[in-house]
């Protein structure tokens, strides 16, 4: 059924179809519309879940961890400062192998305070053991939740995951969204069968001390699970396509890359702008294409190397900055690593921070910069402010 929906409400509808048993969240802009709608659904009896109005994000994720350990499918949503406040618990959730799924409504981190969009919040949680999927539009924001739960709860994976989508740009805008039926989602996503569960008949302790003799292997196990998640994202993404008609088997997605000289690499809603910019560039004879990264963790190294093998240069568009790093953006070095030895130039461009608009002409300008060999830089700085 196609409906015009706000991005946040599309995600709330997805969560309703997923049937979590416990929802625990703390209000923070621009995440609020999701959790307000879920609170309504629970209060109206449209969703049979417990909704906990906790006193902070730290408590929100802690309650989710507890509920998951008790055997429930759980959901939370946050952004920016809220996600930063959860940082300690992120590692605990992953370490205890609880398949919590959270929506991250991407927003910049303070100071200075900003409620507007970039990817600094989720990218900064790169190494926490959560897989990270990025959505381009409202439809994908909705659909990736089905995929995320399916992968997270698989007994070969048992890892928590983020579904990231851009604050305001996707969360507060209206788009046509095709809603799957409850039957389709029930068939795709069977009830959660917990593995590491608190059960008095079979008592276990989670999160206990691991001495130096044991700690490393716990981290190794998570890394192996991340590898298996990569394979499962492909097969479960394909099965999702068979179920609802939209295929998500690609960890990356190509757009007009076949004969491209310049390949842009981007994540999230920015990809839509880049596609339009590429169409215009192609109309004027400039051969450009896009590689959209859907899964940032696990990182699709081989898929990137394959997709970009024929291009002359790569411009990675980064809505984050790794302060003090050589390439400036956090994604660029990994793309460069994927292409190591190929002779292809890879540059990072930091842009769109704190909600600054990225326009089609910016993409064209970055193409020119990459041809001139200029990159690994902040793009579009207001020189009068420096």
């Amino acid at each position: 059924m196609r409906k015009i929906m706000e991005g946040s409400h599309a995600v709330a509808e997805a969560v309703r179809l997923i049937r979590p048993g416990v929802i625990s969240a703390y209000p923070i802009t621009p995440q609020t519309h999701i959790v307000e709608r879920l609170a309504e659904m629970v209060a109206d009896g449209d969703l049979d879940a417990d909704y906990i109005t906790v006193e902070s994000e730290f408590s929100a994720l802690s309650a989710c961890l507890g509920a998951s350990a008790a055997g429930s499918r759980v959901y939370s949503a946050t952004t920016s400062q809220g996600l930063a406040f959860m940082f300690e618990v992120l590692f605990n959730v992953a370490g205890m192998r609880q398949p919590v799924v959270m929506s991250i409504v991407n927003r910049a981190l303070g100071a200075p305070l900003s409620i507007w969009n970039d990817h600094q919040d989720s990218v900064s949680c790169r190494d926490s053991g959560w897989f990270q999927l990025y959505a381009e539009d409202a439809q994908e924001s909705m659909d990736l939740h089905f995929l995320a739960y399916r992968v997270a709860e698989d007994h070969d994976v048992l890892l928590p995951g983020f579904v990231c989508f851009d604050g305001f740009i996707l969360s507060h805008t209206y788009e046509p969204v095709d809603m799957p039926t409850q039957e389709e989602i029930d068939a795709y996503l069977p009830p959660f069968v917990p593995v590491n569960v608190l059960d008095a008949k079979n008592p276990i302790s989670m999160g206990m001390y691991a001495t130096p003799d044991y700690y490393t292997e716990f981290r190794y196990d998570i890394d192996r699970a991340m590898d298996r998640a990569k394979d499962l994202l492909v097969t479960a993404g394909r099965e999702l396509g068979e179920s609802i008609g939209r295929d998500y088997s690609g960890l990356v997605e190509e757009y007009r890359l076949e004969d491209a000289d310049t390949a842009f690499v981007a994540m999230g809603s920015l990809c839509g702008t880049v596609k339009d910019a590429i169409d215009e560039m192609r109309d004027s004879g400039i051969k450009a294409g896009l590689l959209k990264i859907r899964s940032y963790r696990p990182f699709p190294r081989a898929e990137i190397a394959k997709a970009l093998s024929g291009v002359s240069r790569v411009a990675v568009l980064e809505k984050n900055v790794s302060l003090g790093s050589a390439m400036k953006g956090a994604v660029g070095p990994e793309v460069k690593d994927a292409l190591w030895g190929s002779g292809i130039d890879v540059f990072s461009y930091v842009l769109g921070l704190g909600g600054r608009d990225v326009r089609k002409k910016d993409i064209a300008a970055i193409n020119a910069l990459s041809i001139a060999g200029k990159g690994d830089m902040f793009y579009g700085l207001r020189e009068e402010l420096i």
């Binding site: 209000p27 609020t32 307000e36 209060a43 109005t53």
Partner: protein
């Protein structure tokens, strides 16, 4: 210097909604600061996140606009690093009682020499009206669409119990009393806590049949019960209505304080 000199008029218009009570509380605070004879160079305003926490941005002194709930931790650092500074924290019920609750009780316990002015609007206003720990039972919010079912925190009682040297509560209707209480708070060594009940017509009143600004102010006026009267009613065995709250001075004492210049 008049209290108007403390305002950064170049930052106007402010972000507060029409009819918001926060402006009244800022006025009362600056009036009290002015009456104390404090000067800008030695006065710092500190805040966390929320509508209340925008206040320091409109004041000419140095200020720290910090993370959600942490204003008191930052303020403790400022005061101990330079005890000559007069430190005032603006906060709200969400900032102070929910996400920052831990810092609140420990700042009271340490009795650190700062003054906290809490604008309690009974809701998370800035994020659009979710239920807070001070949303009254039965009140409608976006996360409690059929009414709040959890009990509220009595912030003033909490501050008294946790060890603050001065605790008072008034409302945005009681401008004179509120100003006086803030002044006593500023003048009292140790931790001073002044809770100002304020109207939020946008996020609270609109959903709770108090849509007009005057409705909300009237609500605050008619539900505020002078502490002495409340005590008398209790002594005489009269029932105090559950939706009434006490206003007045709850404690003024001289526990050993931290950060006081000898």
């Amino acid at each position: 210097m008049s209290f108007k000199d403390w305002f950064r008029e170049d930052r106007l218009p402010h972000i507060f909604c029409t009819g918001c009570g926060n402006g009244t509380v800022i006025n009362c605070t600056l009036e009290a600061v002015e009456e104390m004879g404090w000067i800008r160079d030695t006065t710092v305003f500190i805040s966390g996140i929320g509508c209340s926490s925008r206040a320091p941005g409109y004041i000419t002194t140095d200020s720290l606009h910090t993370t959600h709930g942490r204003a008191l931790a930052f303020a403790t650092g400022v005061k101990l690093a330079n005890p000559r500074l007069n430190v005032v924290v603006f906060t709200g019920d969400g900032d102070l009682a929910a996400i920052g609750g831990n810092h609140f009780i420990h700042a009271c316990r340490r009795n650190i020499d700062i003054t906290v002015v809490c604008m309690n609007n009974m809701i998370y206003g800035m994020t659009g009206g979710q239920g807070s720990p001070c949303t009254p039972p039965g009140a409608i919010s976006t996360t409690t669409p059929y009414g709040m079912c959890e009990p509220v925190f009595d912030l003033s009682a909490l501050a008294v119990t946790a060890g603050a040297n001065y605790v008072a509560r008034w409302t945005s209707y009681h401008v004179t009393e509120l100003t006086k209480a803030i002044k006593v708070g500023l003048d009292t060594p140790g931790f001073s806590f002044i809770e100002a009940m304020v109207q939020c017509p946008t996020a609270y009143g609109r959903r709770n049949k108090l849509r007009q600004v005057s409705d909300m102010v009237t609500y605050l006026k008619t539900h505020a019960l002078l502490l002495q009267k409340k005590q008398r009613m209790e002594e005489e065995g009269e029932t105090v209505p559950a939706d009434m709250f006490a206003v007045g001075e709850f404690v003024r004492r001289d526990r050993p304080a931290m950060g006081v210049l000898k």
